[in-house]
Amino acid sequence: MRQTFDEMSSSDGTVRPAYETLSQWLSNVPQDVLAHRRKEAEFIFRRIGITFAVYGEQNAQERLIPFDIVPRILTKEEWVQLSKGLEQRVKALNHYIHDVYSKREILKAGKIPEELVYKNPAFRPEMNGQRVPHDLYVHIAGIDIVRTDPSTFYVLEDNARTPSGVSYMLENREIMLRLFPELFSMYKVAPVENYADDLLATLRSLSPHSGHEPNVVILTPGIYNSAYYEHSFLADKLGVDLVEGRDLFVKDAVVYMRTTEGPKRVDVIYRRLDDDFLDPLAFRRDSVLGVPGLMSAYQAGNVTLTNAVGTGVADDKAVYSYMPEIIKFYLGEEPILPNVPTWRCREPDHLKYVLEHLPELVVKEVHGSGGYGMLVGPTADKAQIEAFRAKVSATPDNFIAQPTLALSTCPTLVEQGVAPRHVDLRPFILSGSDKVRIVPGGLTRVAMKEGSLVVNSSQGGGTKDTWVLDV
């Protein structure tokens, strides 16, 4: 039996200091009041229209991500340690991507197998030798963190393409403030509301030109995208234009936005569109979501794309397993946040181990995301395990495996009352040309089913407000 670390109470039942007030409050508040507040929260979410489409479902209708009204609490000390580790990690990611598209020192040093770069579908030959403004590639990162004991936070995954979920972080806080003002008077919680200002300051700092106020836009694939709500939410919070590909055009390697007052030059594009669709002249030629010629403007250095093109080369799960070496190689430091031990099925002895221990392991596709295409050994049945055995044996390069971690649990309001459920955390790290900004907290995702370790919202996971205490 795995020993699960509960963030509120230790195994002998004593409540940790940071949770004392909350625990007391929870035991004083009648159950029906909590249930009522939860309904209220759901009502607000529905009214503001914050929904999420789940791909691959027969009638992929929009649905709400369950919101749990019990906040998760991190102490200031825990956060300071975490944010140092996150900053280090994102710095290393930026160095790595810059290197991979320029001198490739890390390959020459033999620290990473060549094919992991050259055969990686997310490696964009187009970016080779291409300078990007300020040599920064990952301006907005979402690093997924899990906790297994009081002092250990593991990085579970790096998201260096277009990490989403920040709108939930902001909405969750807003709703908590509205529903439980009394709790905020008992706790000194670090604010997250300045995320929008931080993001805008970061985006502006990335402008390829100095001298004038940069024109920043958010590029969305459109209303059919599962994260469209977030795109429009952010445009609104930032006070910038939300555009689709057809609202932009390129003339002589400069990007313009069509406006009622004529063309207006665009300097920074926070794009929530995958590389493949950005420019039909450079990537997928059937893309109707992109802007023809965008890459020519990018290559000429006339526009900043956020995140840069080709950042996916750093965030697949095979590269992940090399992150400790990557951090040491570029920064000469030991990683502050450890990696989860990872078996790379591409290596024969690792593969052998994985095939022998499938029922204990979590097996993931190297390029998978959103919890699709993964095997959680301990909860899988025989047929699922055998299906994965066949898949992994056929294309070992596509898989990695990790031990099943005992993710920490947090008190969560479920049918039976308040009970522990497994959680993870996605903080958002903003890298501008001036500095790195991290708002205290992030998005806590919670597996609503008892014992479940899958927190992905596409798999029925919920979210929580995350409190970083300011004392």
Partner: protein, 275 residues
């Protein structure tokens, strides 16, 4: 051999475009086997050509036409001095080490039939050269080459094998796909073939053999490029080397590549300095 080339491409827009941006890869570079004597690019529109080098080192130009645009015409014209190097490339511009060219793309991604073909050919890691020649001969046998004038989609590797027909580009997809399956770096080449009066645009492949370097293989004709070949652009597949990428449709080309010199009038006009 002195080769003169005229390559005209048109693309139509229906309805006419408000404005349109396009990229052309229509400027060859010199290497040991070819020397570009003169080369010009003409657009029958008033616009600025922005020259750039793409990721593979190809010379390309991007331009924007103000609308309404109903048709777009580009003409490349020039004169190249070529030499037979028995297909071996020297002095080319290289922006990537050979292992990059082990990547399959959407157009070269092997299906079951391609995998089967790859397995059926005798392969020895010590002698990739014999394998590549066998592959070339096999493809010549298996795929009937059809000429194309429209720059329509070049068939992916699997389709070409399934139908047993394809243009030179489809054959090159199949060649690179199979070579990569055996861990031989392989790439896609666009260019011209000035053979008799049948001079055309043509695609072929190049494969990397240790100790020798890059070698050209034209599997559609079962031969390595000779002095009749002019090399234009290099990439992972036909899309990377497309002479024109724009947003219109019905792209057509008209190519003349033949032995000889440009007419005196064109040559003189081209040699005039313009400031």
């Amino acid at each position: 051999m002195r080769v003169r080339i005229r390559h005209e491409i048109t693309q139509r827009f229906e309805p006419p475009a408000r404005n349109t941006t396009a990229t052309v890869r229509l400027t060859p570079r010199s290497h040991d086997g070819q020397f570009i004597l003169r080369w010009t690019l003409d657009l029958f529109s008033d616009c600025r050509l922005n020259p750039a080098e793409d990721a593979f080192g190809n010379l390309c130009h991007t331009f924007t036409l103000d609308g309404p645009v109903d048709v777009l015409t580009v003409i490349a014209e020039g004169e190249v001095e070529t030499q037979d190097t028995t297909g071996i490339l020297r002095g080319t511009v290289e922006r990537f080490p050979p292992p990059l060219f082990l990547r399959q793309t959407e157009l070269t991604e092997p299906d079951e039939a391609v995998l089967k073909l790859a397995r059926s050919l005798p392969f020895s890691a010590d002698d990739p050269l014999s394998f590549l020649h066998t592959l070339m001969a096999t493809l010549k046998e298996r795929i009937a080459e059809v000429p194309t004038s429209a720059l329509s989609d070049v068939l992916p590797a699997g389709e070409a094998l399934k139908t047993g027909t394809g243009c030179s580009g489809a054959v090159a997809h199949l060649f690179t796909s199979v070579a990569r399956l055996h861990s031989i770096p392989a790439r896609h080449i666009s260019g011209y073939l000035a053979s008799g009066d049948a001079g055309t645009a043509r695609h072929w492949a190049e494969a990397y053999v240790p100790k020798i370097g890059w070698i050209g293989f034209d599997a559609g004709r079962d031969m390595c490029p000779t002095e009749e070949y002019v090399r234009l652009a290099v990439g992972l597949d036909s899309l990377d080397v497309a002479p024109l990428r724009g947003t219109g449709f019905d792209t057509r080309q008209n190519v003349r590549a033949e032995e000889g010199r440009l007419s005196a009038r064109i040559a003189q006009a081209q040699s005039q300095g313009q400031n």
